[in-house]
Amino acid sequence: MRNVFIKTLTKLAPKHPEIFLIVGDLGYGVIEEFAQKFPRQFLNAGIAEQNMTGMAAGLALSGKTIFTYSIANFPILRPLEQVRNDICYHNANVKIVSVGGGFFYHSLGSTHHGTEDISIMRTLPNMTVLAPGDAYEAECATRALIEHSGPCFLRLTKAPESTVHTKKPAFKIGKAIQIGNGSDVALITTGGMLEETIKTAEFLKRQKISARVISMHTVKPLDAAIIKKTAREVKAIATIEDHQITGGLGSAVAEVLAETSPSAILFKHFGIPDIFIKHIGSVEYIKEKLGLTAEKLSKKIQTFLAHDI
């Protein structure tokens, strides 16, 4: 996904001289072409995220469209107050790009897991939160961001350029993408769990449970309309995310459902159960340990449907 992001930005940079990419001393093997082609639109701010973020606001308030680029929590949690006060409060045109949302830096340990990012970013006024689910969505999101003025958090996974969609989907910030029309259960997901969620729907299909998948690439502003519509059309809703269950996509969806009348719909959210992940291993291994594989998710969803209906 990060390659798609950089490639798209590299394509757009000549037409948009206001684009300015700031990296926090990260992006080896990825950002070089951009840096060489557009030296006046590029800066390595060093390992100093507070300065990087405040400076990004200063550049944006001087007319630039800023992309800050780093990994996991570094561009958001380390300088959280700069994100809040300097960027969001001033509605500065800064896009914070974080590679490795979720636990895609698996064995590097919990310091490198972006597992509270959606929750924290979506609570900031003026902030838009995007977590594209595959390479196509990442490209669309990058393009959409250029046209969108104001603060944004773009959460990319480190996954290889996996594609779930077969072609570029119709993409609009704040408008979810529905895949399939299953009427038993809707699986709402975001970012790096899209592929696993689609597999989960396939597993369920084999058990004669029809599922639709909703790629909620924009967590804020949330597509409340599709959630309300879905609640009328299916028997149950489950959310699936590589994020803490507190405050993330599941919470955002539940907030809408709780205020939807009539509100009685079966709901379950799957994610990280309020823990630091201590398992060492691949992304797949961690998913397995957390019960976030298609096989385990589909079983849990079956049980949940059987018990609650």
Binding site: Q50, M55, G58, L59, S62, G63, P79, N85
Partner: protein, 270 residues
């Protein structure tokens, strides 16, 4: 401007600030008074800003990083015509727009600050924007001394000389008192000038209440080509009212009726 004219202006701003803070029962009068002479010079001939064209792309940018000294900045901006003086009467009060830390909803204010250590990184970004676009406008940032405890400032202090931001000038209002006491007893900043020099800044130390010295320092910029400038202004917290000078309590207290009259009398006699 002559020293006499500067002084007259600064006194009028001190009186306005005294009234605003007393009326609002707010705080930070000591921090305001230590910075007013610097602000006076900045807004009387140094900063290229125009109240009639506040967002002119080529204006100089001024950032008050010690956002708690906002009352005096509001008083100056109103005096210069950025907004009506009537607004000053609602400072910190219900229905007003002028908060107790500087806010960008006030015309003439570039950014809101209040949490310390935010102004300089933003100022560095603005200075970098001017450099990249080959523009002539300059960036000035006024910091407190206590604020230098914040690590974010030191990230910027490393950054600005590396990028030869000689269009950036910081002024440190060095009154040597922070929230709970003396700066040298809290986290000693000394040797401050040597620190900044060793970080490749062009450093000048001045008496922050000597108008000619402030004017000289702010007119001969950059002090050195390709280096950002740091002006360490030695100041007195509470400057201008004898019983407020060098007294920590005036970081917090607003004057009662008797104190207000005494302070006003002292200032009017200057």
């Amino acid at each position: 401007m002559t020293s006499v004219t500067y002084k007259k202006y600064a006194t009028s701003i001190r009186i306005e600030t005294l009234k605003m803070i007393a009326r609002a029962k707010s705080s930070h009068i000591g921090s305001n008074f230590s910075a007013i002479d610097i602000l006076t010079v900045l807004y009387n001939g140094i900063l290229r800003v125009n109240p009639k064209n506040q967002h002119a792309p080529n204006r100089d940018r001024f950032i008050l990083s010690k956002g708690h000294a906002c009352a005096s900045l509001y008083a100056i901006l109103a005096d210069k015509g950025f907004f009506s003086k009537k607004l000053l009467e609602t400072f910190y009060l219900p229905g007003g727009i002028l908060a107790g830390h500087v806010v960008h909803s006030a015309p003439g204010v570039e950014i809101s600050t209040g949490s310390l250590g935010h102004g300089l990184p933003v100022a560095a970004g603005m200075a970098l924007a001017a450099k990249r676009d080959r523009k002539k406008w300059r960036v000035f940032c006024l910091l407190s001394d206590g604020e230098l405890d914040e690590g974010s400032n030191w990230e910027s202090i490393l950054f600005a000389p590396h990028h030869s931001l000689d269009n950036l000038t910081i002024i440190i209002d060095y009154n040597k008192i922070q929230s709970l006491g003396d700066t040298n007893k809290t986290i000693n900043l000394e040797p401050l000038a040597a620190k900044l020099k060793s970080f490749n800044w062009a450093v000048r130390e001045i008496d922050g209440h000597n108008f000619q010295a402030i004017e000289r320092a702010l007119t001969s910029l950059p002090k050195q080509k390709n280096k950002p400038t740091c002006i360490i202004a030695h100041t007195i917290k509470g400057k201008g009212v004898s019983f407020m000078e060098n007294s920590l309590i005036w970081h917090y207290k607003s004057s009662n009726e008797e104190e207000f009259e005494r302070a006003l009398k002292e200032l009017q006699e200057k």
